[in-house]
């Protein structure tokens, strides 16, 4: 029995949880976690399909790329969050309204 569809169900669940976190949370770091969950769901799919690509390993290779990109994105996002916090003393994206001092 193949577990490919099981992988995909898990991935779908994670993705929707990620969407829920992104939509509902009022905290930039939690939103970031939601995004990361979504990215991970995608990576899971990549890896699951990549199992059957033995020659080019495209699934795994792009999973690696995605992980690296996610890490880079997190670094930049956290830097932005820190900066925003320094300016506005809050990390609730809804409260960051003023564009200029």
């Amino acid at each position: 029995m193949s577990m490919l569809s099981d992988f995909m169900f898990i991935s779908a669940g994670l993705f929707c949880i990620g969407i829920y976190i992104v939509l509902s949370k009022r905290n930039a770091i939690q939103i970031l976690i939601g995004i990361e969950l979504m990215i991970n769901a995608a990576i899971l799919n990549l890896v699951a399909f990549g199992k059957y690509d033995d020659l080019a390993n495209s699934g795994q290779v792009f999973a690696l790329f995605a992980i690296v990109l996610a890490a880079a994105a997190v670094a930049v996002a956290l830097a932005i969050i820190l900066n925003v916090y320094r300016q506005y003393k809050t990390i609730d994206p809804a409260k960051v309204e003023r564009l200029k001092d």
């Binding site: 969407i19 992104v22 939509l23 994206p93 809804a94």
Partner: protein, 675 residues
Amino acid sequence: METVLTHSDISVIQLAVTAVVLPFVAFLLNLFIVPRQSKLSGVLSGLAIGASLALSVFVFFEVWNQPALHVQQIWFTVGSTQIRLGIWLNNLSVLMLLLVSAIALPVHVYSIAYMKGDNHYTRYFAYLSLFCFAMLALVVVDNLLLLYAFWEMVGFASYLLIGFWFTREKAIQANKKAFLMNRIGDVALLTGIMLVYTHYDTFDIVTLFGDHSLATAAATATATKSVTIAGLCFLAGAVAKSAQFPLHTWLPDAMEGPTSVSALIHAATMVAAGIFLLGRVYPLFNTEVLTVIAIVGCFTAFMAATIALTQTDLKRILAYSTISQLGYMMMAMGIGAYSSALFHLATHAFFKCLLFLAAGVIIHEMQHLKRKHRLHIDAQNINNMGGLRKIMPVTFITCCVAALALIGFPLTAGCLSKDGILIQGFAWAEGKGWAYSIIPIGAVLTSLLTAFYIGRLMFKVFFGESGLEGISADSEPEAHEENPLLYLPMILLALGSLFPLFSLNPLKFESAWIVKGFADMVNKTESSGELVPFLISALSVCVVLIAYGVYVRQKLQWLKFKGVLFNMSYNQWYIDTFYNGIIVRAVVGLSRAASWFDTYVIDGIVKLIAGTGLVLSRISAWIDRYIIDGIIHSITYFVKQAGNFIRGFQTGRVQGYLFTMLIIVLALYILKTFI
């Protein structure tokens, strides 16, 4: 000139090279490794020069009166021209090698004591070693270019050493002056080298001036104009380095350096480099040039001697004496007394070096007195001295030997060399017309003047009463001349100033081995040869006695210390004044004119262009501000209004956007699936 060299010859050359390089090693060590003010540096340099001396002695005995040794290798190639460099050891080279190291060693030893406690002890010895290296290298290289390089290096080391106490304004001025004066000569020398190169197509000294050389043939046969000019250029180089008229004024000022430096460089070795140069390129000179050399030498000798008569600064007197003696050598070169010139060079090195070292000790003593009694006097002024023979017997005796040698008193080395020059001078002038005999007569006069000024020096310093009021020197109870490192070199040099080192026969200069070592350019003479020395010696003694009468006995008051002649002598023939007044002022005036031109003419043009540019830019600014900006502002106004209108649609909430997007995706999917 490729000669087959035996194995021992190669080792001799290697030893010679080692002798040259050793001081350089000492220089590098002192410069980079030895800590400041380390006692080690003096010992290091002394050991290096000592080793050089030992090697030089060996090399000397291997080469002297043997066929010259010569090795070469290719230095670089330009086009098809190969420049070779190498070592040429002939009689002249090894004599200079020996002389330089032999003089340098006592000076090093003396310096170890003399410079003790100086803040820049290591630097001093580094410079000294650098000088020794350059000087030794200068005498052995076989290539004019390299010779020029070391010539410059010698000058540079001299510059460093004159300005050694660089905190003294006068020392800075003096070393600048020396450097600039030397530069004039160096430029001339370089020109000479270039002329020689264009004429003979080689820099190789051996090819040019060795046996069967190009220049020998050229000078005798076809004396072209360029060769004459090249000879004059070489002469000018030698004149600058050996402080001959008219480029002599740097040497008295150079006395601002440490006295040991004066002894080594400005009395014995570096100034002799000019004479050496003449000796090296001797075959180049034709009769005209030789005559010029003789005239310059004779005049310098006479002029310097007259100046020395009235100076009061101890070191300055000696400096002028040096100039005078160098003039002697120059003159000897000019009259063809090649061997005698070199002989005098050697003997003079010993006794003049000794005189300077003695002066150093005396000045030391005077400074000691000055400090002890808190006086504000010039420690170098001979008027302040007197009676020092009792407290400084060793200095006195050695000084006497040196002074007698300088006068040319029989039984001293100076007697031999000086008489040689005089005798050959008379021989040379014989049968050439009365005008030529001015030169030997001038030489004799100079010799008498020499006797007078050195007598004055000796009497003022060592005899009579102290020039300082209320202080009798002999009441000083403490021990003087305490440091053997100070007077040991002096004793050695004093022994070197006596005749046995040079000749076993104290009366006949031809028997001196240096004279025998060089083939003379003048025919041997016998006429009046025996008479002249005795005559001059006798006259000299008379002159010394007069000096004794004047300065010790205080008789003969009719000798005026005023008047035109005195002033002329005292102010050094107004040569410095002349230089400052005419040449310096002319240069300053020229630069003022150039400055005026720059300020008013060139700047004016520039400002005019700038003003035009300014006006143009004002116009374009107006266009920019009102026409172009106007267009842009009107565009932005419209954009702004449009933006204000659209702004209402954008909340800036990412979550809102995402939510909207999700709703749309859902709606689309539902529409697509179910409808």
